[in-house]
């Protein structure tokens, strides 16, 4: 773009120059390679740790504005009152003890030419390799009426924290006999089976505390992950308490009106007592700043190195990348973070990275002591990850002892992944 220099843009130019003079603290790369990781979730934290573990002398900086990470996995249990939010919170002290430099600031710009990241603290960080693990953001145009203000009355609770607690308070305040809508977007979205786990656990709360109430799922999909297991469990545990309107029955939500708490689909309007609207998603804000997202809203990558197809020297992991068959989950993000670290270490040493084989594990808890799981293996195929042999899912017909054992395994999985990532 050729913009004529006006007095206004000249003045802005001076302001920018003044800012960069005021912030000369550019931490330049050593000969061995400076790595900056943006985003301290399951992907970014696992990647930073794996880099440091591979080479303790490698300078690794993790930029994450939140001092406490709040885990999405198991946050559905917080919503249902089965768990407190404190059990979801993790700090970065152990990562700092590993020698990772933790910067609790938000990234404001990325200069992909000069390979430099600037934060709201005014600091600039040079990088040889930049890893983005920005998670998801909501697509503002994809669901008319749903903005930040709307999420205060119709919580998404799709990023754990205040939203999780808001949805829980709304459920607690609802009178018996009320209706809770869970509105579910089409894929790709963060953790595809999680909305159905949420509907299950909300039903558990209602059955226990407000048994005349119901859960209505408005779904932009016809079929979903682990569908037969969920539907069997719903029938077994909750009878007709959970009703689902699928895409081909007119379930896709097209807009919302937060003022009247109305949810509109192509064929009807709903005004539930509690509206949990999970909006369509795209790669997190940082992907937009870096220019790594394409028109899909997600980041295309080379699945062997996780390097962006659009911007060199930037790697994208976790929910934000276009992973193909690999679901957007904590477990997948963690596996990607470790594989990406391996690829970066190889690239810095001038070696060709090996194609990773990733394993993703997903546990769903539909009631206390009732869980099931899905394990998938994924390998690079062309531009994406494809599912390879070794998929294992819980049997649809199984005794309750197996469901109880899998619920206990889910809890152990959470303890393990959070200890590996943050402990």
């Amino acid at each position: 773009m050729n913009t004529p220099v006006t007095r206004r843009s000249a003045a802005l130019g001076i302001a920018v120059a003044a800012t960069s003079l005021a912030a000369p603290s550019i931490l330049r790369a050593q000969s061995m390679g400076q790595i900056v990781v943006i985003g301290g979730g399951f992907g970014g934290a696992a990647c930073a740790r794996a880099l440091k573990r591979a080479d303790a002398k490698l300078p690794v900086t993790l930029i994450e504005p939140n001092k406490t990470y709040i885990s999405c996995p198991f946050s559905n249990e917080v919503i249902a009152g089965l768990r407190e939010i404190e059990a979801q919170q993790f700090g970065y002290d152990k990562l700092a003890a590993d020698g990772i430099s933790i910067v609790a600031q938000a990234v404001t710009s990325i200069d992909t030419q000069k390979r430099r990241v600037t934060t709201d603290g005014g600091t600039a960080f040079g990088y040889d390799r930049l890893v983005l693990s920005p998670g998801i953001d909501f697509h503002p145009e994809a669901l008319p009426g749903y903005d930040a203000a709307a999420s205060e009355t119709m919580p998404h609770a799709w990023k754990a924290g205040a939203q999780t607690l808001l949805l829980r308070r709304q459920l607690e305040a609802m009178a018996d006999g009320g209706t809770v809508v869970v509105a579910i977007p089409a894929n790709p979205s963060r953790c595809p089976p999680a909305p159905y786990e949420r509907a299950s656990l909300i039903a558990h709360y209602l059955k226990t505390k407000k048994p005349r109430s119901k859960v209505l799922i408005l779904d932009a999909k016809d079929s979903f992950s682990q569908q037969r297991l969920f539907e069997k469990a719903w029938k077994e545990l909750y009878g007709d308490m959970i009703e689902r309107i699928a895409l081909s029955q007119g379930g896709r939500v097209t807009s919302v009106d937060p003022a009247t708490r109305t949810i509109l689909t192509e064929f009807g309007n709903y005004t539930p007592d509690v509206a949990n609207v999970i909006p369509p998603q795209r790669a997190g804000r940082i992907a937009g700043i870096a220019g790594t997202a394409d028109t899909t809203g997600w980041c295309p990558i080379d699945p062997v190195t996780f390097e962006s197809k659009l911007v060199p020297n930037i790697h994208v992991i976790g929910d934000a990348c276009l992973g193909g068959g690999i679901p957007k989950s904590a477990s997948a993000a963690s596996a990607q973070g470790k594989a990406c670290a391996g690829a970066i270490v190889a690239l810095l040493a001038g070696r060709t990275p090996e194609a990773p084989r990733l394993t993703g594990i997903c546990y769903d808890t539909v009631a206390p002591g009732y869980g099931f799981s899905l394990i998938g293996n994924y390998q690079p195929k062309g531009d994406i990850f494809a599912e390879v042999e070794g998929v294992a899912t819980s049997p649809v017909d199984a005794p309750r002892e197996l469901r109880a054992r899998e619920a206990a395994e889910a809890e152990r999985w959470f303890q393990t992944i959070t200890a590996n990532t943050f402990g």
Binding site: D222, L247, S248, Q249, G250, E266, F267, G268
Partner: protein, 105 residues
Amino acid sequence: MAALINVPSKAKRGDIVEIRTLTSHIMETGFRHTADGNLVPRNIITSFTCRYNGAEIFRADLFPAIAANPYLSFFAVVKESGKFEFEWIGDNGYSSAASASITVE
């Protein structure tokens, strides 16, 4: 499941209204084979018609490339109160109908 219809219940004279329809149908293409090599016979909706107070205002021919559960949306100018009638016709004598009324003020 019966067809889903979305027609505004009220409109002003001369308004352009959106009409949405969705009907459940497998839309089997007739190009697929079973595991033992037999052709799965074609089973699709071939025609959709909308009449407004008896006069045809919209018609669509459907083909094997159209996905299951066809969703059709179109617009009409409403000049008087009345009834929209919808009809789907398909292979193997398939026929389905629905209607919706609108009050024009």
